[in-house]
């Protein structure tokens, strides 16, 4: 099938930039050393030994000594809330938020109001993104009409209108038979099928992970089983149909096990883990801070460890934020009443770097790779640092300390589970598809 370019955005002036003596870490390219990097006309023009390149006319020069340059991050799972919930986020604020976090591309979920389940709506969204999106955005469409789980969307029509893939995210595809049909149909339509795994007969009424903390708090719990049984089921369906399935926001030991087992059989599966599931456990729910309420809920320490191991060994190919903005007054309610979701784009790298890389739990290279690998899983070009490639870069000061949320958020919402945390690692500059998408105040002043 032919599809239009799945990524859309405003575009911008191609940048001419020289970053000198910066530590380039591009794991897929095998680069991990200081270099001078020149971007000309929005593309990487030269990668040279440190101190070897002289500034050219009209070129911005950034002294990168002590800083790191990574391939820009790519998030295959964000909620931009357009259309219908612009009080939570819009394309402009959401992509500004992404750029501030070092992201050079994001994929938006279709559980909007109305749901993105028709080509006409998808086209109008893409038109809007051309006017408002600060970084390239891909849009997914629903697997089933109105996320109701009963009728397939016109997947072929949606693909031809530019759908990156399909997901009923926010809800599971409850019926195995319905999911099987979608995966069969994918052979013709193409497009990855991304699954939010949850068995509603196990999760109904729950507001946090079922366990000691939920017992203590008297809050109805969601057992890990709710996710893991569905991952196992749907991995088997995907394997049987030879379909391409991506598991979203994994949160449980048994889910990682099921994914690993399915991949070992050669099934075309992939998975993602969120910064919050990698950094936090249900212990964080103790004070009933509604920013700690998300779906799937925060799990146990053993789940967190299994996710970390999955990220380390590549069972989980990417880190995705599931950036889920909600307006302050929607979250300023009792825990059980609050909507599920945390924002994450602006804090993702710093949170994971601070909690997992600095203490030596995960190598920096692995984290940097996983933060951009989502593009490949969505069949989109991977951000890369290579001569001739479009400049998709982020410049990071690993030693810079800051407090999440202290200076507000680019996102329209502030329901961030890392709010108030002291973190290391600040994104100073984001170059997305060859243009400057974000520039930290510190860099502007320099």
């Amino acid at each position: 099938m032919t599809t239009p370019d799945p990524l859309v955005w405003t575009g911008g002036a191609p940048v001419d930039l020289l970053v000198r003596r910066v530590h380039v870490l591009a794991p897929r390219e095998g680069i991990d050393a200081p270099h001078d990097v020149r971007v000309r006309g929005g593309s990487v023009a030269e990668i040279a030994p440190p101190g070897s390149l002289d500034p050219a006319d009209g070129e911005e020069v950034v002294e990168g000594e002590g800083l790191h340059l990574f391939p820009g991050f790519f998030d295959p799972h964000v909620h931009l809330r357009v259309p219908g919930q612009e009080h939570k986020e819009d394309l402009e604020s959401g992509t500004r938020s992404a750029a501030a976090g070092g992201y050079v591309g994001v994929v938006a979920m279709p559980n909007t109001t109305p749901v993105v389940d028709s080509a006409s709506l998808l086209r109008s969204l893409r038109d809007l993104a051309v006017r408002n999106a600060r970084v390239p955005v891909g849009f997914t469409a629903a697997i089933t009409r109105d996320l109701a789980g009963t009728e397939l969307t016109e997947m072929a029509d949606l693909r031809s209108a530019g759908a990156v893939g399909f997901t009923d995210d926010g809800r599971p595809v409850v019926s195995a038979g319905m999911l099987r049909k979608a995966i069969q149909y994918q052979r013709m339509s193409g497009g990855v099928i991304a699954l939010h795994e949850e068995d509603p007969t196990l999760s109904a009424g729950g507001a946090m992970r079922e366990g000691a903390m939920s017992a203590r708090l008297g809050i109805a719990g969601i057992p890990a089983l709710s996710e893991s049984t569905m991952v196992a089921r749907d991995a088997a369906i995907a394997g049987h149909e030879e379909g391409r399935v991506h598991f979203q926001h994994l949160s449980a030991v048994a889910s990682v096990d099921a994914l690993r087992a399915g991949k070992a059989r050669g099934w075309r599966l992939s998975g993602e883990a969120s910064p919050h599931h990698l950094c936090l456990t249900d212990e964080a729910v103790r004070d009933l801070d509604t920013s700690m309420k998300m779906n799937p809920p925060l799990g146990f320490e053993e789940d967190r460890q299994a996710l970390i191991e999955g990220v380390r060994d590549g069972t989980i190919e990417c880190i995705a934020t599931d950036h889920a903005p909600h307006a302050p007054d929607e979250k300023d309610v009792p825990f059980e009443q609050a909507p599920m979701g945390t924002t994450g784009l602006e804090s993702a790298f710093a949170a994971v770097y601070t909690q997992l890389v600095r203490p030596g739990v995960l190598p920096l290279g692995v984290v940097v790779e996983r933060l951009s690998a989502g593009a490949g899983l969505m069949d989109l070009p991977l951000p890369t640092i290579a001569v001739g490639a479009p400049a998709d870069l982020c410049l990071v000061d690993l030693e810079r300390e800051w407090t999440v949320g202290a200076d507000g958020y680019r996102s329209r919402s502030r329901n961030c589970c890392f709010d108030g945390r002291a973190v290391h690692g600040r994104v100073l500059l984001t170059v997305a598809a060859g243009t400057v998408a974000h520039r930290d105040d510190a860099l502007a002043a320099a």
């Binding site: 017992a215 809050i219 009933l288 009792p334 059980e336 507000g408 329209r412």
Partner: protein, 314 residues
């Protein structure tokens, strides 16, 4: 004590202090004019998001016996559905500057949350399935009045532990007072990790004879609809406390209202081992003590309530 939000706010000395004060108020209940001026000029607001006759009227009586003014605000289901948030409701009511707000909601942690929105003293009268601290206090008071001390006492809490805020507060309070607690009920109605509270867990009444006190919980009909137990008949067959199961030296308690013939057989409800009416009487006394604790030590009026913060998107 600024608020009473959780039984965990109280150590053993705190529970004893409240029980002692409640005992000192017992004499008031026996007067022909059942009123003391301890809280004259104070306003107590009852904010109830769930229907409650006993707890609300018990708090109302308690406040009135202390000469406080009482306002009852029942947030019906429909008014909540009309969209006013808990915060807006609380701030609207707080504008009347009550000295204390007694709050019951179906949401865990709501009373804690409310302390952010008003300077009034907050008393948790039940927050979802989390806690019901005044119930636990009145239960401790009842046992203390009867037995003198709870040290070494073996208490069994029987029934729907999963949905019971009473159970959660009571387990904590009884243990603080030196008792040993066992919770018992159908496995579907006992959270599997409830032992983190420090209690033992049993799924049958086989060892019930070792209990000094049997505390039955209310079994709600809706649990049948949700298939937690197959039938009330089967529930009663396995878990009902009746004259056959309740030993002659065992005391019986229940937070009310009782489903006769379900969790309790009628004969034990009215029997000599039953403390159920003592619990009801203790309710007013303990709530007097709690209101006195949170109000009498405070300066004359609450500080002005802070205006709602303006939410401006970044």
């Amino acid at each position: 004590m600024r608020h009473l939000l959780s039984i965990e706010d109280l150590d053993r000395a705190g529970i004893e202090r409240i029980c002692d004060r409640a005992a000192s108020f017992a004499e008031v209940a026996d007067r022909s004019i059942k009123k003391v001026p301890a809280l004259r000029g104070r306003t107590v607001l009852n904010l109830f998001y769930e229907s409650s006759t006993r707890t609300r009227s018990s708090f109302e009586l308690a406040a009135k016996r202390l000469s406080a003014d009482v306002v009852n605000f029942a947030a019906s289901g429909s008014s909540v559905e009309k969209g006013e948030s808990l915060r807006d409701t609380v701030q609207t009511l707080a504008a009347h500057r009550p000295h204390a707000i007694v709050v019951r909601t179906p949401w865990a942690g709501a009373s804690q949350l409310i302390t952010n929105w008003t300077d009034a003293a907050i008393v948790n009268a039940g927050d979802g399935q989390h806690e019901h601290p005044t119930q636990a206090l009145l239960d401790v008071y009842t046992l203390r009045s009867r037995l003198g001390s709870l040290d070494g006492l073996d208490v069994w809490i029987v029934g729907d532990v999963r949905h019971s805020r009473v159970a959660r507060s009571l387990v904590l309070a009884l243990q603080t007072m030196g008792a040993t607690v066992t919770v018992c009920g159908p496995p579907t109605l006992v959270p599997r990790d409830i032992a983190v509270l420090g209690c033992d867990v049993r799924y049958t009444l086989d060892e019930l004879p070792r209990a000094d006190v049997v505390y039955a919980l209310r079994m709600q009909n809706e649990r049948m609809e949700q298939a937690y137990v197959p039938t009330l008949r089967e529930y009663a067959a396995v878990y009902q406390i009746d004259a056959r199961r309740l030993g002659p030296d065992q005391l019986l308690m229940h937070p009310g209202p009782v489903n006769r013939g379900v969790e309790l057989a009628g004969d034990v409800v009215d029997g000599p081992r039953s403390l159920i009416l003592d619990q009801v009487r203790a309710g007013v006394l303990v709530r007097m003590a709690v209101l006195f604790e949170v109000l009498a030590g405070r300066e004359d009026g609450p500080r002005p309530t802070a205006p709602p913060t303006q939410e401006t998107p970044a």
